[in-house]
């Protein structure tokens, strides 16, 4: 058992769960804004007004009887993703990457028939994956074609970039890569690899899996030290813009890089996890305090992204 003393953690500026909940989430996140991020459909609609792109919406299934239309719609689609609007932590997301005759091929390679997908839709509507078990809505989105530069690092699944945005300033970022252990999901506690990204440049800093530092991807065997995200400043500005859209002072913005459409917003999270600090090898607190101490906040998302790049970059 390894332990670290609270004093050392404090010196590192590590944000902990209780402080995150009391001092940041409870103070800066309006309860009334939560539905905006807890419901992916609402998120899509609201960020669109602020010029933040999301994967194209193909269909919304709100009622049981609408499920019959799903088959017609999906008839001539190659790839798509079915998501519960109120799902959390990637629960209930089914990604179809291709077709084989009448059958659909899941991201994992398993083949399923249309009846399976319809049952899945039924489950989503019944609220199986929603936060409080309440009835839900299923959304069908266009499949994200991951940028091959990034995709090669990930085992299955699409690598995504989590950026913590505090009062509109992107303060910390990491790249999340799925592994076999995480079953193609990009959740760190399920075993995905988190790669800390330098806010100033978008270059990788260090990587962790299951909270342990690593240097190579466990499945692909690729070195994780020289990853660089393209169009980094554009992504940061996009993340910063989500603040205007939702009004949430402390949130996690999940972005993906689509090969054709560039950066897209996957989802927002009003309670972003703390593991990002371990991927970056530094604590969030000094950066959050820096923003809190700003006498004159910047008004445009671009300015805020620039300020963050200058201030929090590692050089």
């Amino acid at each position: 058992m390894e332990w670290i003393s609270p004093r050392r953690l404090k010196r590192l500026g590590m944000l902990n769960m209780n402080r995150r909940n009391v001092d940041y989430i409870a103070r800066y996140n309006e309860r009334s804004s939560y539905p905006l991020v807890d419901n992916k459909l609402k998120t899509k609609l609201v960020v669109a007004e602020y010029g933040v792109k999301t994967p194209r919406l193909l269909q919304v299934v709100r009622e049981q009887h609408e499920i019959s239309h799903f088959r017609e719609m999906a008839e001539d689609l190659e790839g798509f993703a079915i998501k519960p609007a109120k799902g959390s932590g990637g629960k209930g997301i089914t990604v179809i990457t291709g077709r084989d005759g009448d059958e659909y091929i899941k991201a994992s390679g398993a083949r399923v028939d249309a009846a399976y997908l319809e049952r899945h839709l039924t489950n989503i509507l019944a609220g199986l994956y929603s936060l409080a078990g309440t009835p839900d809505v299923a959304i069908v989105e266009n499949l994200v074609q991951s940028d091959p530069d990034l995709a090669r690092y990930s085992h299955q699944g699409v690598p995504d970039i989590r950026i913590v945005v505090f009062q509109g300033y992107p303060v910390m970022a990491m790249l999340r890569l799925a592994t076999t252990a995480s079953d193609g999901k990009a959740n760190l506690h399920q075993g995905a690899v988190g790669v800390g990204l330098d806010i100033g440049t978008g270059r990788s800093l260090n990587a962790v899996q299951f909270n342990r530092p690593i240097t190579l991807h466990p499945d692909t065997g690729l070195a994780l030290e020289n990853i660089e995200i393209a169009a980094w400043d554009e992504m940061l500005e996009m993340a910063a813009r989500c603040y205007e859209a939702t009004g949430l002072g402390y949130m996690g913005v999940d972005l993906v890089v689509d090969a054709n459409e560039g950066p897209l917003l996957l989802e927002l999270n009003a309670r972003p996890g703390l593991a990002i600090q371990m991927a970056n090898g530094c604590g969030l607190l000094p950066r959050l305090r820096n923003i809190e101490g700003l006498k004159r906040p910047h008004f445009s998302p671009g300015e805020r992204a620039n300020y963050a790049m200058e201030t929090f970059g590692k050089l």
Partner: protein, 505 residues
Amino acid sequence: MTSRSRIPFYVAVLLLIGAGISLAIWRHVELGIPWLTGEQRPVWMVEARVDFVGTNEPVLASLNIPDQPPGFSIISEQAASPGYGFSIVEDSGGRRAEWSKRDVSGPQTLYFKAQFIPTDENRPRRMAREPRPRQMFWEEPQATAVREILAQARERSSTPESMTRELIRLMQPDTRTQNTTLLVAEENYLQLLVDMLNHAGIPARTADGLRLEDARRRQPLMPFLQIYNGDQWLTFDPQTAEQGVPENLLLWRQGSQSLLDVVGGDNSEVSFSMLRQTVPALQLATMQAESNGLGFLSFYELPIEEQSMFRMLLLLPLGALIVAFMRMVIGIRTSGTFMPVLIAVAFVQTTLVPGLIAFLSVVAIGLLMRGYLSSLNLLLVSRISALIILVIFITAGLSIIGYQMGFNTGMTVTFFPMVIIAWTIERMSILWEEEGVREVMIQGSGSLFVAICAYLVMSAPLAGHLTFNFPELHLVILGFILLMGQYTGYKLTELRRFSPMKVYD
């Protein structure tokens, strides 16, 4: 902003905690509710036995009973007398126990029992009106003798008390003069004192005292003299002139009424026996609460069934405190926030080991069945409903099998909250599918650990005693929980979770 907005909060929490503690102390002092369980207090059980012979007439027996005797307080009174109507009558002069019966013949025995506890406080007796000295008329030659003795006593005294002492001294055999010998005969000594004092303008009366000694039967009453000094009645020993009520002396009768009146009976007599008992201090406080105005603040007056329900309910805050501490300060993950408390409540009723075995087997069987349910692709609500029914089947099955095999503990399974167990199974099963067995084990054992901790605290006799008898202590728990809600420090588990950060320090 931070510091200013939180000061009122901390003040409020401090007030809450302070109020809880001071209320508890106040009730401890005022009602005598003990802090610990099993505290004992001495109690005197005094039994008055009235014997008489019925004469085929309607009977009314009336016994003077103590009314706020100095140095004692009465905690219970009861009469045992089959076939008799009984009531306690209060009039201006005192309290009397009255037995009545239409047709009585032959020897009769009536009992009156009362429990007394020694107290330090001496509540002044309420008085309807100021006592006045009785007018006395003496015939010669007594009148002259009385006048002379009183003049002699008055000369050597300054207050009613000293006057009484002097008078008693003058009436003693060794100091007796001609005047006193003329007046005193063996039987009338005390009454003579009373009459003389009244004559001297000092209200005086007799009282009967009972010397309390453990396990005595047929104790006689001892006569005492009481005078009124303009403020209160004072008690004197008529032989030694000693002022005050001796320790362990219970004044059974104060005032001028007779001790016992029996109408319709002959040869009536009263005798006393007594016993020193020890009674749990708590029981005493309960009994006193009924008579005390503060009783409304406690649960003692509720029907027993509600009381036992509250006993259970009042333990819940303790469980909540444990859960809050375990989750916020230690950082143990549990499945369902307060599921552990409910499980702990069930453990309190089943005791730990049988409860654990029952709980684990119900959940394990439930998880197996849930595996089949999930392959049916049911909607959530009907799946949970089906699960609840299955859980009831499982518990019923376990109870019956356990009973047939001779384990009565199998029955205790019914104490578990079925709906909570059904939800636990559902959650565990989803967790299993989504996050794997490891997470199920972590959360499951975390929940059980917290439940066992909560159980250990809740089943401690002291915890049950304090929460039920000092419900105001819940304000303190509330205060602690509120304070904990402000805890922004590291959880214990985070110190481990973040330990790889050492590299970057």
